[in-house]
């Protein structure tokens, strides 16, 4: 594995999991367990696999110690530096980038801390390199989402969808918006269709939140000081700017004299430093077949998007559905995703007395599982206690969970420190952190937690 030196990497792991159901208490998104490790481990592991030796990780102030503790237990060679952002202020992803901007000296790869994928990261990077792009992004085309019954209250909330236009011929990303921006009609600039011949408008892609970006984009971000979110504001802005032309210097001068518009625009940053444009002029290469325009339509600003084929596994653990789905799929995809063989599926320090535990289950450190239990497709975290005559199917048990005697749990998520008392029978339920479910409770699609607000949205 060769080293990647031309890029710095940053993992954004300061998400609060606003799309996850409110179960009371705080659960940091990047520490949700997927298989034996927390979510954030997967992005760090991916960077390690593709030759990064160190990375920055942006985390919330309050999560820092937890994350450090959790990562120490995971197998990682990559050096990671945790950079904290204040948890009491509501910072967007672009604010985080701005926060670390002084440390960025090369082009940057931004990866979301909740990404689990088996994509070859080099494909994205090569797309970026090939076209000398300003920005390269990654979208998964996983086809129709699998329908799964979710634990917790039933809800009808539909996830917001991205509308993504990609020119098939040149792989340019030419339009990016959210479906919720429009009411009845989607408006797309007509110049776009005139310029690019084969535009496809996708509405079911999953944005992986993997961005490879030029160093000057960071400078622009700092200078313009108007973006809070990368995905919501910065990227659409840059994508839109592809259609514009740099103002000609005369016009510009006039404006600054009048002191009307002295703030720099993005084209002041997007300047070829080397001989790129001269080489392009001399080259016979052209990225499009029709028309008489030069290569890249003479654009200085170019955004690209990679859509890997449908079999690629890619998921972002930001909703209950994806959290649940990732847990049910991770073991079958383990080798592809992590590049390693999972050796300690059942932790050596755990005490598993039952023999009725199947191949699709894992058990965390220092957990105790009693003799007469049956465990199927279930993830048991660390320090859990599972007593006799318990049956668990398709469940996720986080750390320090106690399941008392005689419980039957199916398709449930039990958060940290919760206790399920004897004789419960629960299906599709969520049990919040440190909550105690009284004995002999039975329920279906319920939420057991100390929340103030039970009108929560799931999905």
């Amino acid at each position: 594995m060769h080293k990647i030196l031309e890029f710095q990497a940053v993992v954004l792991a300061a998400g609060r999991g606003s799309r996850m159901p409110d179960v009371g208490g705080t659960v940091s998104k990047c520490l949700l367990p997927v298989g034996p490790y927390p979510v954030i481990w997967y992005s760090l592991n991916m960077l390690e696999r593709y030759g990064f030796q160190d990375t920055m990780v942006v985390v919330l102030d309050e999560d820092k110690s937890n994350i450090l503790n959790a990562l120490e237990k995971c197998p990682l060679k990559i050096k990671y530096e945790l950079i904290v952002i204040p948890s009491d202020e509501d910072w967007g992803t672009a604010n985080s980038l701005k926060h670390i901007s002084s440390r960025v000296t090369t082009d940057l790869i931004v990866i979301s801390g909740d990404l689990i994928t088996n994509i070859n990261l080099n494909e994205v990077v090569n797309l970026y390199r090939k076209h000398d792009a300003a920005l390269a992004t990654l979208f998964f085309n996983n086809g129709p989402e699998e329908w799964i019954e979710l634990p917790g209250l039933k809800s009808k909330a539909k996830p917001d969808r991205d509308l993504v236009c990609i020119d098939k011929e040149t792989e340019r990303l030419v339009f990016l918006a959210s479906a919720s921006d429009f009411e009845e009609n989607v408006k797309i600039p007509r110049v776009l269709l005139k310029k690019f011949g084969s535009i496809s408008l996708f509405s079911r892609l999953l944005d992986a939140h993997v961005y490879v970006m030029k160093n000057w984009l960071i400078s622009y971000l700092v200078e313009s000081d108007k973006f809070t979110s990368i995905k919501g504001e910065l990227i659409p802005h840059i994508v839109r700017k592809q259609l514009s032309r740099p103002k000609n210097p005369l016009e510009k001068k006039g404006m600054s004299e009048k002191n009307v518009d002295i703030c720099k625009d993005v084209f002041d940053f997007a300047i070829d430093k080397g001989y790129e444009s001269k080489i392009r002029q001399m080259s016979a290469y052209n990225d499009h077949k029709l028309g008489s325009k030069g290569v890249y339509y003479n654009d200085t600003l170019r955004c690209y998007a990679l859509i890997p084929d449908k079999n690629t596994f890619g998921i972002r653990v930001n909703t209950l559905a994806s959290f649940y789905l990732s847990n049910s799929k991770i073991l079958s995809k383990w080798v592809e995703v992590t590049g390693t063989v999972l050796s300690d599926r059942i932790n050596l320090n755990s005490e598993v007395k039952t023999k009725q535990i199947d191949e699709a289950s894992t058990v965390g450190e220092k957990s105790v599982i009693a003799e007469k239990t049956s465990i199927k497709c279930t993830f048991v975290g660390a320090n859990c206690v599972i007593e006799n005559k318990v049956r668990l199917t398709n469940c996720i048990l986080m750390n320090n969970v106690t399941i008392k005697e005689g419980c039957v749990l199916q398709d449930c998520v039990v958060y940290t420190g919760a206790t399920v008392d004897t004789g419960c029978n629960l299906q599709y339920c969520l049990i919040g952190p440190h909550h105690v479910v009284p004995s002999s409770t039975s329920g279906k699609h319920q939420l057991f937690a100390e929340t103030t607000d039970n009108m929560i949205t799931l999905g």
Binding site: N141, G143, P144, R161, L163, C165, A179, F182, E183, E184, N185, V186, K187, I188, P189, R190, V191, L193, K194, K195, G197, S198, I199, S200, L201, F202, S203, R204, R240, L243, S244, R245, K247, K289, L290, G291, S292, K293, Y297
Partner: protein
């Protein structure tokens, strides 16, 4: 034998365009005989059908079918290549006014046996119809309702075939190639955004958007197409059909698909003079191979190739000092004299070019004489014309037997002979002329495109910085109201001409109103606007008397709409609007108001309110002398009447 017949591919060729884009040239001769690069267009079409695998062609003529019959007969006698394998059937009907009528007729007569190819007489192509038909059949297996596969060619946005025709926006499902949306834009349309229904976008995981397509007017049809036309009597054109199907997909249980031609295949439709010119050049450049300038002759190749796409018949003659630049075709027995220059032009047979003639981008038919020192740029000159010395023609269409006088300087007009005895020239109004700038004023022929002097197709595909981001421009008048206005003008003009009862006209206006969903105050506005925009005013020598007559005639119509104070204000606004927009009313606003006042249509109070408004809004007519004078007069008159009280 019967089995054999079933496998023969049928093609329906619609021999008329049902528009006046090529008038007056196509008034005397059918479109099918219009020469394109020296050969009647029908020969190309039939040849392309044969080479595309079609075995039987049904030519449907609505006009001059005997000329087509003669031509086909002659071709068969001469054993023109296509005549050997192609079974040609000529159907004629004088009653058909639109393509829809033709399809209904075909349905009634049961002319097609199954899947068939539908082409217009203006489609020039070298595609393989057999393969496309197979593809369409495959589509039909997956979707029983597949009615039509439309054939498109992808080109760059700068291509002249796009910039000179209505550009098409196509949205289709990326996986199945099913058409979801089909919208035509006017050439050089300024609309900055396209809008797609959100629901439709979200239903399909991938929607393909095309805006740079050439529509060659070729379609592969299922047997269900003619009955669909019969069932929906409002389908008049191909576009009606497409839109009707797309809107009522569920009701009609039909759907449309598209297919994109491969790179080496050519397809284009000759829809106006500019596309005519482009296709001529393409043929000369051999893009349409195997169709070429030798299409109608099998073995008698009599062309001499001189490089730079210059072809001339061996028996044509060139003087020593003339220059042929590029893309030139010279027919038999034609002669070009000293010091003349010809470029990008087609010259027919038996033509005489004088000395020092410059011909560029022009299409000159047979037996034309062009005298010395003429300049012919982007013109079409039909048979037997004489252009006298020192003439300068740019973008002119000259119909046959016309004699252009010595020293004429003409730009962008149509010349035609009015009567065979009387040799005077009728110059059709230059309004409907040849350049697009006139589009807004050219009333009825918004599809007419003539030649222009030079190509200027450097439209940038970039918008200026600001407009790329502000997606909503302010549109002057929405489409529907424009159509409504036009319909009202048409109804009124017809009513005036035929002396119809005003009651009927009111009924007609009201039905148009509901069709286009026009508000009542807008109706008031547009009726008055229409009255002042009637075509007779435009050519009238004494506009005011005509206006007076019109007002008198339409008094009941006006009375029906202009009753209340509010409607009077609508009426006055319409007057203001008309006086600004219609050149024939220029400077006459005051007189028009006076006429309205005298006819008791408007009252004094409203006039004064309106005048205040004019001044406040700094309307361009508020300072017109006629207006100022009228209001001075009004003031005096009212004072007088007060005194007398």
């Amino acid at each position: 034998m019967e089995n054999d017949k079933d496998n023969v591919i049928q093609a329906v060729v619609i021999m008329d365009l049902f528009n006046s884009n090529f008038s007056p040239i196509c008034n005397q001769n059918p479109m099918g005989l219009l020469p394109v690069a020296g050969i009647p267009i029908i020969d190309y079409v039939l040849e392309s059908l044969v080479s595309g695998g079609v075995g039987e062609a049904i030519l449907f003529c609505c006009q001059d079918s005997f000329k087509i019959k003669d031509h086909i007969k002659k071709c068969k006698e001469n054993k023109v290549p296509w005549s050997i394998t192609l079974d040609v059937q000529i159907i004629s009907s004088d009653t058909c006014q639109t393509m829809g009528d033709v399809m209904r007729e075909i349905d009634a007569a049961g002319l097609v046996r199954g899947y068939f190819v539908l082409v217009g007489i203006n489609s020039i192509t070298n595609i393989n119809f057999t393969a496309l038909l197979e593809q369409h059949k495959q589509t039909c297996k997956k979707d029983k309702g597949a009615a039509m596969t439309l054939v498109y060619k992808e080109v760059a946005w700068e291509h002249p075939l796009i910039s000179n025709d209505k550009s098409l926006l196509l949205a289709a499902d990326g996986r199945t190639h099913k058409i979801l949306m089909h919208q035509k834009y006017k050439p050089k349309s300024k609309e900055s955004a396209v809008s797609l229904p959100l629901e439709c976008v979200l239903q399909h995981s991938e929607v393909k958007l095309y805006h740079n397509l050439v529509d060659a007017g070729i379609a592969i049809c299922s047997p269900s197409v003619p009955p669909l036309f019969s069932d929906n009597f409002d389908f008049q054109t191909r576009n009606d059909f497409i839109h009707g199907i797309l809107i009522n997909e569920d009701i009609l249980a039909s759907s449309l698909y598209y297919t994109m031609l491969k790179e080496n295949q050519y397809a284009a439709a000759i829809t106006n003079w500019k596309t005519y010119q482009t296709v001529c050049w393409d043929i000369l450049h051999n893009w349409v191979y195997p169709l070429s300038i030798e299409t109608d002759s099998f073995y008698k190749n009599t062309f001499m190739f001189m490089g730079n796409h210059i072809f001339r018949k061996t028996n044509s003659s060139l003087s020593r000092s003339c220059t042929l630049v590029e893309d030139v075709l010279i027919g038999a027995q034609s002669h070009i004299s000293d010091m003349s220059t010809v470029s990008k032009s087609m010259i027919g047979s038996n033509c005489m070019m004088g000395n020092d003639v410059v011909i560029h981008g022009s299409h000159i038919m047979n037996n034309v004489v062009i005298k010395d020192n003429c300049q012919i740029l982007n013109c079409f000159v039909d048979d037997n014309c004489v252009i006298e010395a020192h003439s300068n023609l740019e973008g002119v269409v000259v119909s046959n037997n016309v004699c252009v006088k010595e020293g004429s300087k003409l730009r962008g007009i149509i010349l035609e002979e009015t009567d065979s005895n009387d040799k005077t020239l009728k110059k059709t109004s230059s309004e409907s002329g040849t350049e697009w700038e006139n589009e807004s004023s050219g009333k009825e022929d918004d599809e007419y495109v003539g030649f222009e002097k030079e190509w200027s197709d450097s439209e940038s595909c970039y918008s200026s910085d600001s407009s790329a981001e502000s997606s909503l421009p302010d549109s002057p008048i929405p489409e529907d109201t424009n159509i409504f206005l036009q319909e009202v003008i048409d109804s009124l003009a017809r009513g005036y001409e035929d002396n119809l009862k005003c009651d009927y006209l009111i009924l007609e206006i009201n039905s148009s109103r509901y069709a286009y969903n026009i508000q009542l105050n807008e109706v008031n506005f547009f009726v008055v606007r229409a009255l002042l925009s009637m075509p007779i005013l435009e050519n009238s020598k004494n506009v005011l008397t005509t206006v007076k007559d019109i007002l008198k005639f339409f008094r009941p119509v006006i009375a029906n709409y202009i009753k209340t104070k509010l409607s009077i204000m609508d009426c006055l606004k319409a007057v203001e609007d008309s006086c600004i927009k219609n050149s024939w009313l220029e400077g006459r606003a005051g007189q028009i108001i006076h006429l309205l006042y005298e006819a008791d249509i408007v009252d004094e109070d409203s006039l004064l309110v309106w005048y205040e408004d004019l001044k406040e809004n700094e309307s361009p007519i508020s300072n017109q002398t006629s207006i100022v004078k009228f209001f001075e007069w009004l003031q005096e008159a009212s004072e007088e009447s007060e005194e007398s009280d």
